[in-house]
Structures are given as C-alpha cells and as structure tokens.
Amino acid sequence: MFVLITGASGGLGRAFALECARRGCGLYVTDIDAQGLERAAVGIRRQYGVPVETYACDITDDSAVDGLIQNAQDKGIAIGMLFNVAGLDFEGAFQKRSFNDLASILRVNIEATLRITHKALKLRDEKRDFYIVFVSSLASLYPIPLKATYAASKRFLLDFSIALGEELKPQGVHVLALCPGGLSTREDCLQAIAAQGFWGNATTNAIETVVCRTVSKSLRGKTLYIPGLVNNLLRFGARLVPPSIIARMLHKRWLQAQQQWLSIGNQ
C-alpha cells in the first residue's frame, strides 16, 4: 500500500512518513520545499528500504495538483491512505497581518486540503478501504483571539472531517481528525515550549507517539484523536464553559505569552 502525505518535509509530515515506512508502506510524498522533500526521501529509503516517490508542488495551485495525481496514475501508484499535514499559521493580531497572509491560511489549511482530498480519492483502489487523516489542532476546540483565523480554519477541518467521514462510510472510506497540542517538530518549537514553562510541557505531545497512535487509530476506523490527558481535560472543561468566556480567558493568556516571548527575544 502507498500512502500520500502532504507537507512531508516538515516535522510532523516527516514523522508520519517515517512511521508509515516503518510499517512497510510505500510513500508518495509532496511538499512545496523540493530540496527538503528529496533529503527526507533519501534518509527514509536508507533506513527502511521502502519505495519513496516524491513530487514537489504547491498544493494551492490546481494544475500542480493535477500533475501530482497524473504522475501517480502514470506510475501506477494506488493510494490507500492520505495524510493532510500541510498547513500554515502566522502569529499576530488580525489587523497586524496583511490580508494576503490571512487569506493564505485559508487557502492552504482549507482550500488546498480539500482539493488534495477530492482528487486523491480518484487514486484509490476501489477494492480496498481508504483512510484519510486531517491534521486539525487543539486550537480547533476553542475560538482563540489573536489566532482567530488559524483556529477557525482548524475548526473547519474538524467539522468537515467528521461530516465527510459519515458521508463516505458506506464506501469504505475512514476519516480521522487529529487534534494535537504542541509538537516538538522544529528547533523554534522546542524553544517556544521551553518559554511557556509548565503549561508548555504539559500540553506538548511526544511526536513519535502521536504519529504511531494516529496511524493505528485511523486503521481501526476511529474518527477523532486528541492526544494527551491534559489536552483531553482541557477539551472537557471547554465544553462546560460558554465560548465567549473561553475566548476572553484565552485572549488574556495569549497576551501574557506574547509578552513573555517578546521579553525573551529582547534579552
């Protein structure tokens, strides 16, 4: 079985690629960063000896994605599993960001993700079940001031994923939404986790565990995975409190965190 992974040269995408290779799957990986994609592919082949097919492209570009699909069809790659990992965020208040930045959050996180999903279903082997994973976020569970666009885009994925899963169930397609907290994917994430102190560590999930469980849960037909006890408690708590109050609390917390972050930057 081949798995298709978007955003595969980033920390989480690469971790999914490694996990699937470890389980013996062939990989069809894509990312906008062609060099990074190639390097990860080389490393994965050397470790696991599985076939790794790369196709670098911009998934917000419709014809580029057609190219991605065509390439798979030409090479006879049948996809059994899709990981929608590519996504982006820009820090900062609504008015401080250019509209272009904000729109690109929607274009990548929502539009491009749906595009890939829509087209990738064509690569499916009809005789077998098909599995889709959407990488949403813990941020999808609340309205978050100062991260409003990002959080809402992840909320879209969460709702969409649950609905789509229901719709496609009769056809043997299983859809799972993953809502991770902090992940130790990059050097700057590690520093950010360290800067947040206790809560940073408490809401951070071990990435190797998250990817392993995500794959297992998806294969078992689960529809939602929120890793970590603290995150689940946060989610449970969030249900008992009206959204406007949560938004107010989170606003305070983000302002504080930003200030801490700035004071660290100035040191």
Binding site: S9, G11, R14, A15, A17, L18, E19, R22, G36, R39, A40, V42, G43, I44, R46, Q47, S184, T185, R186, E187, L190, Q191, I193, A194, G197, G200, N201, T204, A206, I207, E208, C212
Partner: protein, 279 residues
C-alpha cells in the same frame, strides 16, 4: 605548522580545546553551528592569541549535505595552506534533546549529531589525516556505561527517553573508534574516545526544558572547568604512546563490554548505509 579541526568549537569543551592548541601554535580550524557563533569565537580567540592561525567554519552538523560541504571546504583549505595535512580531528559537537525530533534527513537528532556527523566528517577528512598520520578523537562519556544499542530501533521511534538517546550516542562514539582502528590503524591514523569528565558547560540547557534543564543546572556545578578537561585532549593528541581506546583525565579508562568487535562492525555498516558512504 600542525593542524587541528575541532567541532562544537564555539563553546564549552571544544572552545577550551581551541585555546589549548592556539597556545601551542597549531593552526586551529574550528567548526560551529552558525556564522554568528563562529564569528564571536574567532574574534575572542584571535584577541587572546594574536598572530595565531585561527579560522572558523559554520556548519549545521545535523544536516548531511552541510557536512559534505564542510568536508570539501576543509579539504581545500588544508590543501591550499597546509600541504593537505590534518594532524588531529576532534569530533566533539554534541547535543541533548528532551523530545524525539528528526533532522532534515529524517534521522533522530541526537544520533545524527553525536554519532553520524562524526562518522561522515571523519570519512570526508580521511585522506588529509592519512597524509599527516593524524589522530581522530571523539568526545564520548562515562554515560556510555550500562547501556546497549537498541538495534531494532536505533532512531528510538518508540518510547523516546532523552537520557537513553544520549547514552546510546556516546556508546556509538566508542564503537566508531574501535572499528576505525581495526580498519585504519595500519594507515597510521588512530582514533580515540575521550571521557571529558563532568564539565561545567551549557550542554544540558540548550533546547531542553523542565526536569532535564533543572537537573543539569545543579549537576554541572560539581564539574571541572572546560580548560581542565581540554588537557586530556592535548595529552592524547601530543603523547607518543597513546595506545588505548578510551582516555579520561587520569589516563586510559575501562569501557563497557558492549564495545566489542561485533557491535562495532554492525554500527559501521549501519552508519555507512545511513550516510550513503563506503567508508
């Protein structure tokens, strides 16, 4: 003029080794992670040792493409200015991570930086080492004791433990030294593992947090200064009769029974595969 290449040279033990050899008037070629840290270290050393030949080369050692580029730059520098001779290579850069992270090559970071980078850089610089009958040193540690390589999952993708990752990488340093000697001793190049002892440096506080960081803050105070530790490196590089595998402040040291021919060969083959070399 004698030449020495030192990685992790912008701070801690590596920086102290630079000082020791600048003092002895060797040409010091330091490797650091960024332009900024390299520039700062270079300036400080030149100020302290006016007239000494000190040069720094930035390289992110978690990236194999950068290591290969570094190898080419160093080889060219050695060829142009030092008759193609490298008298000592000190593979000292090392790190700790309190989470599982991967490099752009898809390898676990601690294994990649602490072991694979040393393997690949040594492979790149072997001709210059042979030319000078040089020595290769790898900064290992007593923490290699009481551990085994997890062969089924060397990158530790299951149940990542920061301390285990570090210990395993330091065991790999000694396995590398052992197999290197089996292969290349007759070409006049020797490799040694060094135990720097407990040294008061910042290693446990970079990119770590929580318990790991707190532990290191207190623990390191009991350590010796980096300059004291650097004496071990100077001794092993300059002495005439260093014929053991593993040295500490008081001379040759015992090492784990895990450091045996079978494990050493196995790690070498794996490293060759992961670096795309035939070292």
């Amino acid at each position: 003029m004698k030449t020495i290449v030192i990685t992790g040279a912008t701070s801690g033990i590596g920086y102290a080794v630079c000082r020791a050899f600048a003092q002895m008037r060797w040409a010091v070629l330091g490797v650091g992670r960024s332009e900024a840290t390299c520039g700062a270290a270079e300036r400080k050393l030149r100020e302290e040792f006016p007239g000494a030949d000190i040069r720094f080369f930035p390289c992110e050692l978690s990236k194999q493409t950068e290591i290969i580029r570094l190898g080419e730059t160093l080889t060219k520098t050695l060829r142009d200015d030092f008759g193609g001779r490298l008298d000592a290579l000190v593979n000292n850069a090392g790190c700790v991570r309190n989470y599982y992270t991967t490099t752009e090559d898809g390898y676990e970071t601690v294994f990649a930086v602490n072991h694979l980078a040393a393997f690949l850089l040594t492979e790149q610089l072997l001709p210059a080492l042979v030319e000078a009958g040089g020595r290769v040193l790898v900064t290992s540690s007593q923490s290699h004791l009481g551990t085994k390589v997890r062969w089924g999952d060397v990158m530790l993708t299951r149940r990542y433990r920061p301390l285990f990752a570090y210990k395993q990488s330091k065991l790999c340093n000694l396995l590398f030294a052992q197999e290197f000697n089996r292969r290349f001793a007759q070409s006049g190049v020797r490799c040694y593992g060094i135990d720097p002892g407990l040294v008061n440096t910042g290693i446990g506080e970079k990119n770590t947090s929580g318990v790991v960081k707190l532990f290191w803050r207190f623990h390191k105070r009991r350590g010796v200064s980096a300059d004291t530790s650097a004496k071990t490196y100077a001794h092993v590089i300059t002495s005439d009769d260093a014929d053991s595998l593993y040295y500490g402040q008081r001379g040759p040291q015992r090492f784990s029974r895990q450091v045996n021919g079978e494990n050493a060969k196995r790690l070498w083959a794996l490293s060759d595969r992961l670096c795309g070399t035939s070292f």
